[in-house]
């Protein structure tokens, strides 16, 4: 595996802070960590230094090419006789890469600096077309801002500007206006440093230089949307947002992405009642500032025409729009008639509030424990795999903690698809923190980026042999006395593991040696979650973690936006909210579907779960939907599951309701309502609450999402004390009491 950490990104450029130094910026004296970039120090002092190419999260090695941040620097010089005098550096220095050193004096407002800035802007505007009125970046463009604040009013350039065809289709979601590019290299550095696919680079040289991919192939990345936000001009543009709105037309609302369990913080930019674009919002603990393409471009469903706007009833095979009064009347009637023979499935895409109201309705009003949020994978008791042994359910580490690992084992996961933000952390740990990554997976996809691109070791095993592989590793650890294995891998040998898994013995040995070098995190993915012998594989993962002293570093992140929260809220057959065990557990998803198929279930309520699309045993799901059971579905659009139901209730998307999501690392984060698509669309909790009220109230009636959050914090120990206010913008990660 070639070392592609060649650029100057390593510790030598970003040394650990050992001491503070005194510097002076524009007469302001301040103390900063030694080696900090002057541009960052200037931010501390409140001195504005303009820049284009600098970005604190990108490597420093290729930076300093826009030359916008030039400053005058006076460095102390020691004469032979010991006297120290300040000497001006002969050339102006780029403050974005200049490390702070004792006694440095920086001047950012001298005549020369002002002139340099004017000069650089004049150079940049030589070829930059002045089509700001039709540019999507206009109004939020760093080049516009800097040109207005620091540029000259006119240009002396009278020659022909460079011309290219507009809107070059760079990627599926990104169009590229080559005329506008100012060659800051932010996008190229992003693909190299952050996403890891290194697909963008510079072609040609000098004034002909342009950003592009090798041989002009398509830019296929899972993170291509970020380059749009990184671009300091309107060169890289979103295809879906192109010409849709100007920044001053938009309103912005803080939210959390609904596409996976990582819980990226996002901003919903909307106009009237339609979502226009998604931008990343900074949360250092979760997504830093990145988004994946699924999240950035995958939310067009929110404002799509296909959204359901009234309840739909199937009568005689035909769908008929009805009003809410009628829908609730029918539903309540069916629930009354069912007399407790009711079951609920779903909740992984709903907020905590929805889920809490869901289980309250079933447990306290309908008196049924047959409720489960899981539609695939392991359906047994959630305490079995990890909790009983290590005291946690899904992720032992916070996402940000992965940076500090020496070794990271990614097991059975197409990490970049399943957990894109965890993938970016793993990549960061590798690229900037020197971690070693081992990728164990049963199939390797062709396209980049993926963990295999930078993994030190890639173990491709036969599908389903995860446990054998882990036991093989344990046997090596035991044989080479790298760790005290406590007889975990008894009766297992390296040869046997190699034969069973199809991985070479040397690779297993190497992997074992790498794992014994220090802090090891294990991230298991879909292949483990859906494994037929899930418990056995998790047992082996636990053995490995315990043997290497990393019992708290096992991570089995869920996949849906609120799979963690739904479990926390007790949408499980055997646990009340907060994992309080129930005396008489109900049925899990498979058992519920079986009951429906048998005809012993009267009413099945599906809250947003895509049963027909996702449930592994499709025949069973189809049989359940074909039975006489009355099936109610809360959905946004007419999905396959909704089509097969009897009554479909239009539910609000995440952009239309208040609430909280709990991401895979147990961080509870708020979402805010941005707009209403239609007043006939209701959030799930309101639907449950209205039914509960009509059924006789009990504990299931709520007035608002905030009201439910209050109930949650009062009744769920892990969520105790959480209020809308205390969650703030960055959320709160809840911890197990003993941790």
């Amino acid at each position: 595996m070639p070392d592609n950490r060649l650029t100057q990104t390593e510790a030598s450029l970003n040394p650990a802070v050992t001491q503070m130094v005194n510097i002076k910026i524009d007469g302001i004296e301040l103390q900063v960590p030694k080696g900090e970039n002057i541009i960052e120090s200037a931010k501390r002092a409140g001195v504005d230094i303009p820049y284009f190419c600098y970005h604190p999260r990108l490597s420093k090695g290729d930076a300093a090419n826009c030359r916008m941040c030039l400053v005058d620097v006076f460095a102390p010089r020691r004469a032979p006789d010991g006297t120290v005098s300040l000497a001006k550096m002969p050339k102006p220095q780029a403050s974005c890469t200049l490390p702070a050193d004792e006694g440095m004096v920086i001047v950012t407002d001298s005549e020369a600096v002002v002139r340099d800035r004017k000069g650089v802007l004049e150079f940049l505007l030589i070829n930059h077309p002045l089509d700001c009125p039709i540019c999507d970046r206009g109004g939020e463009c760093p080049l516009q801002n800097n040109a207005i604040f620091y540029g000259a009013a006119t240009s002396r350039y009278t020659e022909e500007k460079r011309h290219f065809p507009k809107a070059y289709p760079l990627a599926e979601n990104v169009v590229f206006d080559r005329e506008r590019c100012i060659h800051c290299a932010r996008c190229t550095r992003f693909t190299e440093d952050i996403s890891g696919d290194a697909q963008l680079g510079f072609l040609k040289r000098g004034a002909d230089m342009e950003v592009g991919t090798f041989e002009h192939t398509a830019y296929k990345s899972k993170f291509s949307g970020n380059v749009i936000e990184l671009c300091p001009v309107g060169a890289l543009l979103s295809r879906s947002y192109r010409f849709k709105a100007r920044p001053w037309d938009l309103h912005s609302q803080r939210s959390v992405c609904s596409k996976c369990s990582n819980g990226c913080n996002i901003k919903i930019d909307y106009r009237l009642d339609s979502l226009q674009r998604i931008n990343g919002r900074i949360n250092e603990a979760v997504n830093e500032e990145w988004t994946c393409d699924k999240g950035k471009f995958g939310h067009s469903y929110v404002s799509s025409e296909a959204r359901l706007k009234t309840p739909m009833l199937k009568t005689g095979g035909e769908w008929k729009a009805i009003d809410w009064t009628e829908a609730l009347q029918i539903l309540v009637g069916k629930l009354r008639d069912a007399n407790g023979s009711v079951a609920g499935i779903g909740g992984q895409r709903c907020t905590n509030e929805d889920n809490f109201a869901f289980q309250k309705l079933f447990r306290e009003v309908l008196k049924s424990n047959d409720i489960d949020s899981r539609v695939e994978g392991y359906l047994g008791s959630v305490n079995k795999p990890l909790y009983e042994r290590f005291g946690y359910h899904a992720m032992g580490n916070a996402i940000a903690e992965l940076e500090d690992m020496k070794t990271i084992l990614v097991l059975g996961s197409q990490l970049v698809d399943e957990q894109p933000i965890i993938y970016l952390r793993v990549r960061k740990a590798y690229r900037f923190k020197g971690a070693t990554v081992i990728n164990a997976v049963s199939s390797v996809p062709e396209d980049s980026p993926k963990v295999g691109d930078f993994a030190q070791l890639e173990l491709v095993y036969k599908p389903g042999t995860e446990a054998a592989l882990l036991k093989g590793i344990l046997s090596v650890l035991s044989a080479e006395k790298l760790a005290s294995v406590n007889g975990f891998a008894k009766g297992y040998t390296l040869e046997k593991a190699a034969e069973e898994t199809g991985v070479s013995a040397e690779a297993i040995q190497q992997a074992a040696r790498l794992m014994a070098t220090g802090k090891l995190a294990i991230i298991a993915g879909r292949e483990v979650a859906n494994h037929a012998n899930h418990l056995e594989v998790v047992q082996a993962i636990g053995d490995l973690a315990e043997a290497t002293g990393n019992a708290q570093n096992i991570n089995l992140p869920g996949e849906d936006v609120n799979s963690q929260g739904a479990a926390d809220m007790g949408v499980l057959p055997d646990f009340a909210p907060g994992y309080a065990p129930l005396e008489n557990p109900g049925k899990n998803t498979a058992q519920i579907l079986q009951a429906a198929a048998d005809g012993s279930l009267k009413v099945l309520w599906v809250a947003g779960a895509k049963l027909l699309e996702k449930f592994p045993n499709r025949e069973l799901a189809q049989a359940a939907f074909a039975s006489d059971t009355f099936i109610v579905v809360n959905e946004l659009t007419m999905t396959e599951t909704a089509q097969a139901a009897d009554l479909v209730l239009p539910a609000a998307s995440f952009a239309e309701k208040e609430g909280t999501f709990t991401n895979c690392e147990r961080r509870v984060q708020r979402i805010h309502k941005a707009f209403d698509i239609s007043l006939e669309i209701k959030p799930d909790w309101l639907i449950f609450s209205e039914v509960a009220t009509r059924m006789g109230g009990g504990g299931g009636s709520f007035f608002s999402a905030r009201d439910i959050l209050k109930a949650i914090s009062a009744q769920v120990p892990a969520y105790a004390g959480l209020t809308a206010k205390s969650l703030g913008d960055e959320g709160v990660r809840w911890n197990y009491p003993d941790k």
């Binding site: 089509d131 009125p133 039709i134 109004g139 100007r246 037309d249």
Partner: protein
Amino acid sequence: MGFLRTLQNTADGAKALTTGARITMRHYMGQLLKTEPLQTVQYPEERREQFPRTRWRHVLTRYENGLEKCIGCSLCAGACPARCIYVEAAENTDEDRYSPGERYAVKYEINMLRCIFCGFCQDACPTGAIVLRKDFELADFTRKDFLYTKEMLLEGASVIPLTAVGTHKEAVK
């Protein structure tokens, strides 16, 4: 003394009345004999010439070749202090071209009830597309009719909603 004062007041009143009546009579006779110019304009049959910088109804203008000047940049909406302009843009194609360049306004609406005729939109317009002209007879019967659409605003189209005029292509003719 009371009588004297009453007399005095009456005399003053009579004097003021005659002064006033004299002015009225002078102008009346002047008008009658046509020795002085007419001040009253016989609106709507006659119309007074307006000042050069009068700002009334908005018009979206065109280039000589018939293409729309508006590029849908929404700067007018940004400049509008009454927030009464709504613009939606789309991309020109070679087959279906409305304006030069890449972008044109697919929707352009002004809520005339909100408009304060400040002319900031005209000021902000980079292509000189929107101008405030002198057509001031903007009264209408329903509120809905004050929502001027692009078809109504576009030069070459009538004040009547464009259902009567047709598409932009016909309007060019």
